[in-house]
C-alpha cells in the first residue's frame, strides 16, 4: 500500500514567516493560526508534500530526538492541520 502524502492546500491558504514562526491565514474559513517552531520546521515539507516517515525524519534530525517522540509531534501537528481543513484531500 502506498504511504499517504501530506500536503497543504494550495488554494485560499496564505502564510508567511514571522520571527521564525509561521502565521497562516485560511481565506476560506476566515481564520488564522500561528504555527510553533516544530510545525514551522515541517511547513516547507508540507508545502511540497511529504510522507509521515519523511516528516518524522525531518523533526528527528532537526531536533535530535528519537523517532518515537518525533512521530508523536508529527501526528499531532498533521491531525491539527487536518481538523482545520488545511490539508489537500
Amino acid at each position: 500500500m502506498t504511504e499517504r502524502t501530506f500536503q497543504l492546500r494550495d488554494d485560499e491558504l496564505e502564510w508567511r514567516e514571522v520571527e521564525g514562526e509561521i502565521v497562516a491565514l485560511d481565506l476560506r474559513e476566515s481564520t488564522y493560526l500561528s504555527v510553533n517552531k516544530t510545525g514551522t520546521a515541517l511547513w516547507p515539507h508540507l508545502t511540497a508534500g511529504a510522507s509521515r516517515d519523511e516528516l518524522v525524519a525531518v523533526l528527528a534530525s532537526r531536533y535530535g530526538v528519537d523517532t518515537e517522540a518525533a512521530a508523536r509531534d508529527v501526528d499531532a501537528f498533521v491531525r491539527t492541520l487536518d481538523e482545520k481543513g488545511l490539508l489537500a484531500s
Binding site: 496564505e14 508567511r16 514571522v18 488564522y32 500561528s34
Partner: protein
C-alpha cells in the same frame, strides 16, 4: 516563545490584504492597467527585516488618472463598491484617494495622487512610476516605489496623518534609522517634482530627527496652511474651515456650510469612520452631528489661525 497575539493578528491582516492585492492586481493585469502598490508591502519590504511585521490591513494603489474608469470597472467586477459616492462630496475638498470596500472587510484605496502633492495627478503618477521596482506579493509581481519613493511616501504619510498617528511616526523613525542621507536627498528631489516639498518637510518634522534631516537637506521651510494643519494633528473641522476660506463666492461658501451642517450619508461616512458600521451608527452620527460640530469648531478655528500665522 510563542508569538504575541497582536503580532499574529497583524500578520494575518497583512496576509488578507495581500490576498486582496493579488486579486486586484490580477484583474488590473487582465485589463492592461498598470498600478503602483503603495505603503503596506512597499514599506515592509524597504524598512523592515525579513520576518518582521509592519501592520497593515488594506491595499493602497496609485493609478494613472486616465485609467480610473478601467480601475473602477475592475473593482466592481471583484465585488467592491466605493465607500462614498464622490458626488456626495461635491464642493468639499477633493479626495486624493477613493476607498473601495467589500464584505470581507479589506478595503482598497485607489489613489490618483498623493496627499501633499500640488502637482497634477499625471505628474505624480509619472514621477513615482519612474522610480518603481518590482516586488512579488502572494506569488504575483507587483510594482512598488523604490527606496527614495518609499522615503517620500513615509514622510508624506506622516504629514497627512500628523503627529498624533503613531504608526506613521514609527515608519518615519524607522526610515530615518535605516536610510542614508543620499536616499533622503533623492526623496527631496522627487518631492520637488510633484510639488510636495512643503508636505515633505512637514512630514519629516513630526519627528525631531526628521527636522534635523530637513535642515541638513537645506529644504525650504514654507509649508501650505492645509499641510501644516494636517501635520500638526489639527481638529477635524480645521481643514474644512481652511477649504471654506478658499472657496470663492458667497453662494458656494453658503452651500458648503449647509452641506457640512447637513451632510449626505456618504459625507458622514467619509468624515466619521464610526458611521460606517451600519445604519444605527449612521443614525447616531447624525444625531450627534450638531454636538460634534460645536465641540470641534472653536478649537478648529484656533488651529487654523495658528497655522496661518506660522505657515510660509
Amino acid at each position: 516563545m510563542a508569538l504575541a497575539e497582536a503580532t499574529v493578528r497583524a500578520a494575518a491582516r497583512g496576509l488578507a490584504a495581500d490576498a486582496v492585492a493579488v486579486e486586484v492586481l490580477g484583474e488590473l493585469a487582465v485589463r492592461g492597467v498598470p498600478s503602483l502598490l503603495l505603503r503596506g508591502p512597499a514599506i515592509e519590504r524597504t524598512l523592515y527585516a525579513a520576518g518582521e511585521v509592519r501592520p497593515y490591513g488594506d491595499v493602497d494603489l496609485l493609478v494613472c488618472p486616465g485609467d480610473q474608469d478601467r480601475v473602477q470597472a475592475a473593482l466592481r467586477k471583484l465585488g467592491f463598491t466605493p465607500l462614498v459616492d464622490e458626488a456626495e462630496l461635491r464642493g468639499h475638498r477633493p479626495l486624493h484617494a477613493t476607498e473601495w470596500v467589500r464584505s470581507d472587510g479589506v478595503s482598497v484605496d485607489v489613489h490618483i495622487t498623493i496627499s501633499g502633492a500640488g502637482a497634477a495627478p499625471e505628474v505624480v503618477w509619472e514621477t513615482l512610476r519612474s522610480h518603481a521596482v518590482a516586488l512579488t506579493v502572494g506569488g504575483v509581481e507587483a510594482t512598488i516605489p523604490d527606496v527614495a519613493g518609499v522615503a517620500l511616501l513615509v514622510a508624506l504619510h506622516a504629514a497627512h496623518h500628523g503627529v498624533g498617528f503613531e504608526r506613521c511616526r514609527a515608519d518615519l523613525r524607522r526610515a530615518l534609522d535605516r536610510l542614508p542621507e543620499q536616499k533622503w536627498q533623492e526623496a527631496a528631489r522627487l518631492a520637488a517634482r510633484i510639488d510636495a516639498t512643503g508636505a515633505f518637510v512637514a512630514g519629516l518634522s513630526v519627528e525631531p530627527r526628521g527636522s534635523d534631516m530637513a535642515a541638513r537637506l537645506d529644504l525650504p521651510t514654507a509649508t501650505p496652511v492645509d499641510v501644516r494643519l494636517r501635520a500638526s494633528g489639527a481638529p477635524p473641522l480645521a481643514l474644512g474651515l481652511e477649504w471654506l476660506s478658499r472657496t470663492p463666492g458667497i453662494r458656494a461658501k453658503s452651500g458648503l456650510v449647509v452641506r457640512t451642517a447637513f451632510p449626505s450619508p456618504g459625507a458622514m461616512r467619509a468624515w466619521r469612520p464610526r458611521a460606517r458600521r451600519g445604519h444605527r451608527s449612521l443614525a447616531l452620527a447624525y444625531a450627534t452631528h450638531p454636538l460634534w460640530l460645536a465641540r470641534h469648531l472653536p478649537s478648529s478655528a484656533i488651529a487654523l489661525r495658528r497655522a496661518r500665522r506660522t505657515a510660509g
